[in-house]
């Protein structure tokens, strides 16, 4: 058996999505901007996809959902264009974000800091979320934008987007949320919460990679990131990626129809897995279940180093993550673990398991068994569980020279 439990990194494209995309490669391939019938043949499917997107996140007709290449592009677009529109060509100079955002936000903020923008990185509480009152206290008259993720890729924790939205509205500050981990996992209703901009990505909800979107409330102005032809009403140039737009529409529809039911089903499996793993001594899971995306577990296992654990899981055909897929090659401590103030020791013991609607009960059973075996093997090797104490003077100081 093989089990894919890294769905916060990316998901399997739903075969129904692939099927919906199929005609738009070699059969209906015209450029939608062309006047001839080859071009216009794709229009019904594109319109359908847009309807699927608008309805999935309950966007109003006066709002824009602009198709991009990925959420990284959407995030860059908002940050860089708010900089151009309101800082370079306005009287603002400040952006508020959090310490636990995705690199697409954090690296862009670092870039903007190099350009002279002031950026405040808000801390998270012990649940790994930014509290609304913290956001409120850091907004100044110079603040152009608040950007806070809807849900964390690493912990699955859901941020108080409704409250933060109200605060931003009241203060007259633009509000962007990286909705990548929320859309398709939990209900997202953009007429219920006040959000000016929201980024999303199809491959996180069983759509194809290489396509995403930016939601823009009330079609408000935002200088384009991609200049070119008059695609997407001039908001984002580049020939429309027809099959992928169709695929994203189909994927978001499949992910969000009866979402409560899907959530309950995924959550039941997740909770069962979580309960079983927590039977292991010296373990804990980050964040309250009730306020977490229903598919995610970030568990710390004392004495077991994260990458070592991934290796053992991989040997049993189970794919998991030590946190962010981006971080798994650079040997860093889990930054979210550090940000939530977890003991330094635990920053290297985090394993993230993220389920999908395709995860089966049999896979959960298999994972529970293999996971426990791996922990047993690695703890048997682990110095953390050694009995014989070091010779006097041979104890390691906390992190001697080797620290992060």
């Amino acid at each position: 058996m093989q089990v894919y439990l890294d769905n916060n990194a990316t998901t399997m494209t739903d075969p129904a999505v692939v099927e919906a995309m199929q005609p738009f490669f070699s059969e209906i391939y015209g450029n939608p901007n062309s006047l001839h019938k080859f071009g216009t043949a794709s229009h019904p499917a594109l319109r359908n996809a847009m309807n699927q997107l608008y309805s999935a996140i309950n966007a109003a007709d006066e709002d824009d959902i602009v198709i991009t290449s990925c959420a990284t592009e959407s995030n860059n677009w908002v940050l860089k264009s708010v900089w151009v529109d309101h800082i370079l060509n306005g009287d603002k100079n400040h952006i508020v974000t959090s310490e636990v955002e995705h690199p697409a936000i954090l690296s862009t903020c670092k870039f903007l800091e190099e350009q002279g923008v002031k950026v405040t990185y808000l801390p998270v509480n012990d649940q790994g979320i930014v509290e609304a009152h913290t956001v409120k206290s850091f907004i100044t008259e110079k603040t152009a934008l608040v950007t806070i993720m809807w849900a964390s890729n690493e912990t699955g924790m859901i941020f108080p987007i409704k409250e933060i939205g109200e605060i931003c509205k009241e203060k007259g500050v633009l509000f962007h949320t990286d909705g990548v981990q929320a859309v398709g996992k939990i209900p997202v209703d953009l007429q219920d919460v006040h959000v000016d901009f929201m980024s999303m990505s199809a491959h996180k909800f069983h759509g194809p990679k290489g396509v995403g979107a930016l939601y823009i409330k009330n079609s408000q102005p935002l200088t384009p990131l991609m200049h070119g032809g008059e695609h997407m009403g001039g908001r984002r140039s580049g020939t429309l990626n027809v099959p992928y737009i169709v695929g994203m529409g189909k994927a978001i529809e499949l992910a969000t129809e009866n979402i409560e039911e899907k959530m309950a089903s995924i959550r039941a499996k997740r909770d069962r897995l979580e309960d079983a793993l927590l039977e292991l001594p010296d373990t804990f899971v980050v964040g309250d279940r009730e306020n977490r995306t229903p598919n995610t577990i970030l568990i710390s296992i004392k004495g077991v180093e994260g990458e070592g654990m991934l290796w053992d899981l991989n040997n049993t055909q189970i794919g998991a993550s030590t946190g962010s897929a981006c971080a798994s090659e650079d040997l860093e401590a889990n930054s979210v673990m550090l940000a939530i103030g977890a003991d330094n020791e635990l920053a290297h013991t985090g394993i993230r398991l993220s389920l999908s609607r395709f995860t089966t009960d049999a896979e959960i059973d298999y994972t529970i068994a293999q996971f426990k075996n791996a922990v047993a093997r690695l703890r048997a090797i682990s110095s953390s569980y050694a009995i014989q104490k070091p010779t006097k003077g041979g104890e390691a100081l906390e992190c001697e020279l080797h620290h992060h």
Binding site: T349, I381, P390, A396
Partner: protein, 324 residues
Amino acid sequence: MAKNDLLGASLWDAYSNKVTTLMNNPQHQGEISEAEAEARGNQLIVADFGAESCGDAVRLYWEIDPKTDKIVNSKFKSFGCGTAIASSDVMTDLCIGKTVDEAVKITNIDVEFALRDDPDTPAVPPQKMHCSVMAYDVIKKAAGLYKGVDPESFEEEIIVCECARVSLGTLKEVIKLNDLKTVEQITDYTKAGGFCKSCIKPGGHEAREYYLVDILADTRREMDEEKMKAAADAGTSGKFEEMTLVQQIKAVDAIVDENVRQFLVMDGGDMEVIDIKTGDEYIDIYIRYLGACNGCASSSTGTLYAIESTLKEKLSQKIRVLPI
């Protein structure tokens, strides 16, 4: 960045078979208790290096025959990734049968080499080279405990790059000898900074005491100072060609003051040195006449000749004086 770097490496595929075999099934994992060692009349040494909070920790056990100082048995425990486990395992293997004095000579490079399937292919990808460094550190610590000395005393030089074991002294020498100007050149010449990259600049995998960027800057500054000092020495010893521009201008001024200026001033004129340009054949000294000299017929003939011949005689035969 180039074609091979754009998609990122598949880290685990770069491990040697030995590494993966030992990761999955370490041979010397375990403990030796005080009682076991005593029962065999041996001394137990247990040393820790690293900590869970660092992401890497190893505990090394040596059972030593006190009559021969020989390590008769050795085990390890490790909190770390698979390569840390494999490195610890091979380290333990290398220790067994050696005396403490022999064991302390084992370096991380020996450990990595022992993990290779064939001598020419590294056992682990560059960013994992660091895992074997702990093996070296913990051996020094164990040896220090046994001999009752500071583990640092085994280190004869300051190691800047632990992965490639390149010392501060070597780095400075190589930078100077080859006139290196970038960190990339340092890596090409010495391998330092080519692995986990921690030693390149602050903010890497781990904090270091010395960084290549600082060593490069300091050494370049030292080189400049040496050059200046050499030039200054040349100035006092009178080698005009080797002086810096400022020294040359000062030297010319001094000669003019001593031998020429008084005559110009007597006639209501003066001169100043504008610039000095050193070519292959000539050293051109550009001057400007002031006051009455300006436009005086002799200024381009007799006076000029007098100035030039004085400077040639006192400073260098290559000098040409060019009024502008």
